[in-house]
């Protein structure tokens, strides 16, 4: 039992999250001479993007499931070297649940491992690299077993080497769908179609951003090649508007969409399948940041992200952000931002080459986010009885009633009137959809705790912090 819970392990920089951004930042900061603590909820570094099978699964070639593996492998090796030299304290399986100011420093509280030990870390600077989770828009039948998040399908494949079925429709919006379809097919699934709600012609108006990113074009070509090789059809401006089945999904209805993402009448057809992997992009995970009072902004993709300056600083002194917390931009941007943050935390100017690369990758991310931002007409595929909140089983009709008849104007009021967003996931799954039904842009995440914490750990906190 660490009695240091209120003092905290001291370091110069505490990094939360060991995905691409956090890993790159920790390694670079240690290269520059800082004492670093790297706290991560995962067992091994890599985050969701570089999720790997557990060693006991004995995968001989885990890298075949990944893009840009070398970029990760070199940093993971550097992490190991720094950790054995004592420059980085790597704390895996640590869930940071709050960060509080402590004099001139910041104190991070975490629960560690299956026994949920209390651990605290004290740092001059904190870098939030907590990444993102998937945005999901509901549709009739989306709670049937076999309908899973596209990112979830990817995570189960990369981490557990399993598939949810043999014939898997991939649907939603965003470039992740192409990667997911490619990996599912490579792992032996049949993918009858990738159903993409946006039109890729939306990129046409963004040609400059595309042309400045030849790497991204190459990536697109890789995905495109994988689709061709596996005979996967890409249907753009289409959506899965219903999943059918009783105990599990047996088929989906696919319909054409207009520019607003409204289903076009008369275009529906049925596609048999035994699983659906669906996702509508990613949303930054911000609880720790909003708990600290960091300023947010609405991104081109319609999601709330942290306001970050040229040095990757948030609006709160001592708190930096890198990667998806500052807006969804992909792993390469996350690596660059992590390195820039590390330089500025060490009190140096970031190398110009990194700054240029960040500008280029951000321009591309902005174009991509705008192209895939959900159209205003998507609630057109909801029926009154379609569950929107999966945890509390709240149907669209009840939410519409709260808005129409009871005057709810935001997700918070809808939540109080209907319980949507009050369940286990605390609105992580339904938040964007509820906000859209309330006719509002999403609010910044505000959850008092960023992960489940045993009550006894809360009770141990010194009174002045709570």
């Amino acid at each position: 039992m660490p009695n240091s819970a209120s003092d905290g392990v001291p370091c110069d920089l505490a990094v939360v999250g060991a995905g691409p951004a956090g890993l790159a930042a920790a390694v670079t900061a240690a290269d520059l001479g800082l004492r670093v603590a790297l706290l991560d909820a995962g067992e091994r570094p890599g985050g969701q993007y570089y999720r790997r099978p557990a060693p006991a699964l004995g995968a001989a070639r885990p890298e075949v499931l990944h893009h840009d593996w070398a970029a990760f492998a070199s940093r993971e090796a550097a992490l190991r070297a720094h950790a054995s030299a004592g420059r980085i304290t790597h704390l895996p399986l640590h869930h940071v649940w709050t960060v509080v100011p402590a004099g001139a420093e910041l104190l991070l509280h975490a629960v560690a491992g299956p026994e949920e030990e209390a651990v605290a870390v004290r740092a001059r600077a904190v870098l939030l690299a907590t990444g993102a989770f998937e945005r999901n828009l509901p549709f009739p039948g989306w709670t049937l077993p076999g309908v899973i998040g596209a990112g979830g399908a990817q995570a189960m494949l990369k981490g557990g080497l399993v598939l949810p079925g043999r014939r898997i429709v991939v649907a939603g919006s965003g470039p992740l769908l192409l990667a997911v379809a490619g990996s599912l097919a490579a792992a032996g699934a049949t993918v009858p179609a990738v159903v993409e709600a946006a039109a890729y012609t939306a990129y046409a108006g963004r040609l400059p951003a595309l042309l400045r990113n030849p790497g991204k074009l190459g990536e697109a070509a890789t995905y495109g090649g994988a689709l061709l090789r596996h005979g996967i059809r890409l249907l753009t401006r289409h959506a899965v508007t219903e999943a059918h089945g009783s105990d599990r999904v047996e088929a989906v209805t696919v319909a054409r969409l207009d520019r607003q993402w409204r289903p076009v009448p008369g275009t529906a057809r049925r596609v048999p399948c035994d699983a659906v992997a669906v996702g509508h992009g990613l949303v930054p995970q911000l609880e720790l940041a909003t708990g600290l009072g960091c300023a947010t902004r609405l991104g081109a993709d319609g999601a709330v992200a942290l306001e970050v300056d040229a040095r990757q600083r948030t609006s709160v002194p001592g708190v930096w952000s890198a990667g998806e917390t500052g807006g969804i931009g992909g792993a390469r941007l996350a690596l660059v931002e992590g390195e820039i943050a590390a330089h500025t935390i060490a009190g140096r100017a970031a190398p110009a080459v990194l700054v240029r690369r960040r500008a280029r990758l951000r321009a591309f991310a902005g174009a991509m986010g705008a192209a895939h931002r959900p159209g205003a007409g998507w609630p057109g595929w909801l029926r009154e009885d379609t569950e929107v909140c999966r945890c509390e089983e709240v149907p669209a009709g009840r939410i519409r009633e709260a808005v129409r008849d009871l005057g709810a104007r935001d997700a918070r009021t809808v939540k109080l009137l209907t319980r949507a967003g009050m369940g286990w996931c605390q609105g992580r799954m339904c938040g964007p959809a509820v906000a859209a039904l309330a006719g509002r842009d999403p609010d910044p995440d505000r959850r008092p705790l960023s992960c489940p914490v045993p009550l006894r750990r809360l009770a141990e906190l010194p009174a002045e912090e709570s």
């Binding site: 004995g58 499931l65 189960m156 557990g160 598939l163 792992a187 599990r248």
Partner: protein, 108 residues
């Protein structure tokens, strides 16, 4: 980089698990590999649902796959409300479909 086509995820990544186990699920014996979560072991055996909801009694299983949605709650060795996607499968585990809150025996 993606290769393919393979017949299964295992073919794709090659190698072999360090050990295999038996997992009991609702009276059936299912195979599991060391290193898999309970959710992965169930998927591997073709099982997609292991919970029914509190209101409608509807079947549920994995949705997010990473511990955020809580759709995959299950009873493991008598303990309800374990997230199957995060809980490692261990030799001899008994997994049972969780109905409602998983606390029916408490009568609440």
């Amino acid at each position: 980089m993606l290769r393919g086509p393979a017949r299964s995820p295992r073919d794709l990544v090659g190698g072999a698990p360090r050990a295999t186990y038996v997992l009991r699920f609702d009276g059936r014996e299912l195979p599991a590999s060391a290193g898999q979560s309970i959710a992965a072991a169930l998927w591997g055996a073709g099982v997609l649902a292991w919970r029914t909801t509190r209101e409608n009694g509807a079947p549920r299983g994995v949705f997010c796959g990473i511990g955020s949605c809580h759709d995959c709650l299950v009873t493991v060795n008598g303990r309800p409300n374990r997230r199957a996607c995060l809980t490692p499968a261990r030799p001899g585990d008994t997994v049972t479909t969780q109905e409602g809150t998983g606390r029916a025996e408490l009568g609440v």
